[in-house]
Amino acid sequence: MLYVELLTQGLIYGCMYAIIAVGLTLVYGLLRILHVAHAGLFTLGAYLGLIVTNATGSLLLALPVSAICVGFVGMAIYRFCYQPILHKPPYVALIASIGLFIAMEEIFRLIFGPYGLTYTNAPLQSLVNILGMSLRMVDIVIVFGSVAMLGVLSWLAQRTRLGIAWRATVDDPQMAESFGVSVQKVRYLNFFIGSALAAVAGIFVSLLSNFAEPTMGGVPSYKALAIIVLGGLGNVTGTLIASVILGVVEAFGTIYVGDYLDRDAIAFACLILVLMIKPQGLFSRK
């Protein structure tokens, strides 16, 4: 029974990581930028979702509002931060991104206060009994919600003109452009979708802990990097599998090796191990 519970928790963590990391891997796949400020968008999403929910009492409204707003902020970050330095070596964009992330954390603190915010009447907290486990509605919504969102994303990528254009741009931007694909549009779309997903992830996490705080992006900022490296940089399927693996390893790890390694250390030990055996990541195409 304990194992089933730990596995379930691992799955919940994994789904949470997946929707955070997918946005990051999308950006890397397209621009070869390690977009650390993605975690800042995750925090922004959580705050917006929480504020809208508290103001209107409706999470169903808060989710799209926050996702769309954060999507546009993501596009703005591309336009004003990354686009002007795209021709520079990749570490320039990385440093800019880290700087942006730190600035965002402090801006959140100034605007929303140092104490963090809580839901006045947290939604999705009702209890559900499954296989003798007491779970909250939010746990279930996270698992099914992320599967549904990633399903839609994969359908978009496989079945629509937009998706085909996107995949073509990832494979070979110049060739795609010569076939009439607007690379610029694809990039904007990419940032919009990735950031919107981060916003949803932020809301989910704030629901799990009933808390949104300025520094809540700290853990995703580096753990998502570990995940996309594990999954083979830029590979979406690999990222999803790596997220779930990491979630489950952490769930068991906190109990059985928690005295020696903390949760983050487990994630990075996992990363080092994989890189030693398979330096290109678990699911790299190359």
């Binding site: 304990l2 963090g116 809580t118 947290a122 779970l135 802990s209 009933n210 769930a251 928690g258 983050d264």
Partner: protein, 383 residues
């Protein structure tokens, strides 16, 4: 000619500079390091508000030695690497008469060494690691030592509540570890059997797997260390998972934010701390009222501790009759002052000797539950 101009301007500079010193000497400076930004910014805000309130009250009553107090606050982000240059700046540039830490154990430990070396008194308001006062005779602590509070927790669980099978959930830092060490040291005396201990890190907010294991352990009580941003989610998730075992925490929970985060799950949670909200003592009642008026939110342990530390410092300077560091130190050592966190007295090592307050969450507020005043149990180490 040029030489003369140079000399002239030099003279002017000296006069201006001298003038500056005269003006600066009108106030007595107290240095204060606190995490105003970063993850611990909330506690930094509370502690600096508490300290500011104390300075305001002291200045309104005529100041110290006929001079006004001036609080110089720097942000250490709760990082040891930041508190060392801050301590140097406070001593070297600002020439403070005394330093106070409104910060966590890590930065306080580092700064304590610098103050000790410079021979300037330093008071830790609420950082709880044992090594802080071991920096030397210049360092004092007005907050309870971690291990002392851990022992009080064991008495509360084992004797007062009569719970014998306990799971410990420990925050992996100076704070959590010294609490757990104190608890475990004395647990067997109260017939407590620690059936398991789990550790988590400062950044953790999701405790699903630990909770799954705690459920399987079936303890009588859970002793969980951590801050409100860890333990608010922890208690919330524990109750959601159907675990209704009593949770015993400590001063890291202290504050309204814990109750907001944990929601109704917070009801019945007990903590050991230093601020009694239902106190009848004038100092505490006045502080709670004045703090809420100034800061706009209810007082917490961190604010009360910083307030106490400033009051202790001011009283010592007044008693010493000068700002000579050695005289201030001697006066601090002989302190016997009623402050917002109770009667403050120090032992040889500079550790405070005061009772532990047990508070409980009732109807969404912290309230009095009991006082642990077992002087034998709570005696801090002398070396």
């Amino acid at each position: 000619m040029i030489k003369r101009i140079t000399l002239f301007s030099l003279a002017i500079c000296m006069i201006l500079n001298f003038g500056g010193t005269i003006q600066a000497a009108d106030t007595i400076k107290i240095g204060f390091n606190a995490p105003l930004t970063g993850f611990a910014a909330a506690d930094g805000k509370s502690s600096s508000e508490g300290a500011k309130l104390a300075v305001k009250q002291i200045n309104a009553a005529g100041g110290v030695l006929g001079k006004q107090l001036e609080l110089i606050i720097y942000d250490d982000q709760a990082k040891p690497a930041n508190s060392i240059p801050i301590a140097n700046k406070l001593i070297g540039k600002d020439k403070v008469a005394l330093g106070i830490s409104g910060s966590y154990s890590g930065p306080t430990r580092s700064a304590a060494g610098v103050f000790q070396e410079a021979g300037i008194p330093y008071i830790s308001a609420y950082a709880i690691h044992p090594d802080i006062t071991k920096a030397g005779n210049m360092v004092y602590r007005t907050g309870l030592l971690g291990t002392v509070q851990g022992k009080a927790g064991a008495k509360l669980v084992g004797e007062m509540m009569g719970k014998k099978k306990v799971v410990i959930i420990t925050l992996q830092n100076d704070f959590g570890k010294s609490l757990a060490a104190g608890f475990k040291e004395i647990a067997s005396k109260y017939g407590i059997e620690v059936i398991a201990e789990y550790q988590y890190s400062m950044k953790d907010r999701q405790f699903g797997s630990i909770i799954a294991k705690v459920k399987a352990d079936k303890p009588d009580a859970i002793y969980a260390s951590g801050y409100y941003f860890n333990c608010g989610p922890l208690v919330n998730q524990l109750r959601a998972a159907g675990v209704d075992t009593p949770v015993i925490g400590q001063e890291g929970y202290d504050g309204q934010k814990f109750i907001e985060i944990a929601g109704t799950a917070a009801e019945g949670v007990l903590i050991t701390t230093t601020l009694d909200r239902d106190s009848k003592e004038k100092e505490t009642v006045d502080f709670i009222k004045a703090f809420e008026e100034q800061a706009g939110y209810p007082a917490d342990m961190v604010a009360a501790s910083a307030h106490t530390a400033v009051k202790v410092a001011a009283a010592a300077m007044q008693k010493a009759g000068s700002t000579d560091p050695e005289k201030i130190r001697q006066a601090i050592a002989q302190t016997s002052l009623k402050a917002s966190t109770g009667l403050i007295k120090f032992n040889k090592l500079g550790e405070v000797m005061k009772p532990v307050q047990v508070q409980i969450v009732k109807a969404g507020r912290w309230h009095h539950y009991a006082v642990i005043d077992d002087s034998e149990l709570l005696v801090p180490p002398e070396e």
